[in-house]
């Protein structure tokens, strides 16, 4: 496991739950342009990126599929597997070679149901990821770089 992944799960999940989760992970090596899931599809898996980049995209009729966000080392790919109706809200495709841990979502949900402590830890971890992405989306809504200020680069006149 890379230090980055260790660090992120350490922050979000106690060691015993983290180790239990990683025990059922499958290591995958994906070529560029591998589609992980399509928007509207059944959310039955999720991934933690060990190395490489995954693009989240959205189908817009009549337009080239826009990339909404990219995810990299240590990032969780997919959260719709945790919430009913378990349907992907976006699509995901690798843009580089990607090495990742792949998880069977049904198995993880069953583990969560069987062990409330483990379930809470997983819920907190995914919630934290969602909170971070919500903040990022809000920051983009206010056009982070489009502020009229920048006086020290000419914005004052």
């Amino acid at each position: 496991m890379t230090p980055s992944i260790t660090l992120r799960l350490e922050h979000a999940m106690p060691v015993e739950h983290r180790e239990r989760l990683l025990r059922i992970a499958r290591e995958v090596d994906l070529k560029p342009d591998t589609r992980l899931f399509e928007e509207g599809g059944h959310a039955d898996r999720f991934w933690i990126v060990r190395d490489g980049t995954v693009a989240l995209d959205m189908h817009v009729p009549g337009r080239r599929t826009p990339v909404i966000e990219t995810l990299g080392t240590g990032d969780l790919v997919g959260w719709s597997w945790l919430f009913e109706p378990y349907v992907w809200q976006l699509g995901a495709v690798t843009t580089t070679r990607v090495r990742a841990y792949e998880f069977d979502a049904v198995a993880v949900r069953l583990m969560c149901d069987d062990d409330a402590e483990f379930g809470r830890a997983v819920g907190r971890w995914v919630g934290r990821v969602l909170s971070h992405r919500l903040n990022a989306a809000r920051a983009r809504l206010v056009d982070l770089y489009g502020s009229p200020a920048a006086f020290l680069s000419g914005g004052a006149g």
Partner: protein, 268 residues
């Protein structure tokens, strides 16, 4: 430091983006004192007026330069200057990034849009002494790929990690998409022994500094460059007052422990 603009010759002019130009300047006569990275000059466009501009290159490393975005009468005039034209300079003014305390520590540079320009001499300073600092990482965010400056340099800098992300990718963009703060999770740094330097529009500074503080970087080790309307640049006119600070004199570079409460106030 002088209160009268000192004539400087435009010796090189490079267009960085559709809106941005970098002017390299040399004194016609007497030279100004040495600028430190993060400091600014009042740059006078004759017949139009003067504006505060951070240095994007300092005398010691590559010569004095300013990177200017064309957004108003004075900046339009400066961007339109040609090699051989003369502009006026006052300075150096304000506080600098102060790289010295970061010796032996990780250096994390986070820039939004044209905010990379004032950070450029700091990055060059850190990379010039790789043995003196820990891991040097540079994170850059911009609205679109067309808004990115110093793209070639970004690829050449020998950092531990360089991340570039845009909000709105075009068809030719194969890099990251999203806000610059999402790159913080990918940069290698130890929060307990990191100095962070952040420059960009205020919403970006706030989002980045808040995220860094949450990750454990002490606020006093997060240095940010504040943006206020400087006029006299000598702490007399009060145009750039921000609470107890006169940004031209006490800034523009301050610690986040000082900036955070001031930037949280709705009207100040």
């Amino acid at each position: 430091m002088t209160a009268v603009p000192v004539p400087h010759l435009v010796v090189d002019r490079r267009r960085d983006t559709a809106e941005t130009v970098t002017l390299r300047l040399e004194p016609v006569g007497e030279a100004l004192a040495e600028f430190a990275p993060g400091q600014f000059a009042m740059v006078h466009c004759f017949g139009r007026g003067e504006i505060p501009l951070s240095v994007s290159s300092v005398q010691g490393t590559g010569g004095l330069a300013h990177t200017i975005r064309s957004v108003g009468a004075v900046s339009d005039g400066l961007c339109a200057t040609r090699v051989g034209d003369v502009v006026g300079l006052r300075g150096p003014y304000g506080t600098s990034w102060e790289l010295e305390p970061a010796r032996g520590q990780d250096v994390l540079v986070v820039a939004g849009g044209i905010g990379l320009a004032p950070l450029r001499p700091l990055i060059l300073g850190a990379l010039a002494e790789p043995e003196a600092y820990g891991r040097v990482s540079v994170l850059v965010g911009a609205r679109t790929p067309a808004d990115l400056i110093s793209r070639e340099e970004l690829e050449q800098w020998a950092t531990a990690y360089t991340g570039v992300t845009v909000d709105w990718p075009d068809t030719g963009w194969h890099g990251d998409v999203g806000v610059v703060t999402q790159l913080l999770g990918r940069a290698p740094f130890d929060p307990d022994r990191t100095w962070a330097f952040v420059c960009g529009p205020e919403p970006m500074i706030r989002a980045t500094a808040r995220d860094l503080a949450q990750r454990g970087v002490p606020p006093e080790r997060i240095r940010v460059s504040l943006e206020r309307n400087m006029r006299c640049a000598t702490g007399h006119c009060g145009h750039c007052q921000l609470g107890p600070l006169l940004v031209c004199r006490d800034g523009p570079v301050v610690g986040w422990e000082q900036a955070q409460p001031l930037l949280s106030v709705r009207e100040l």
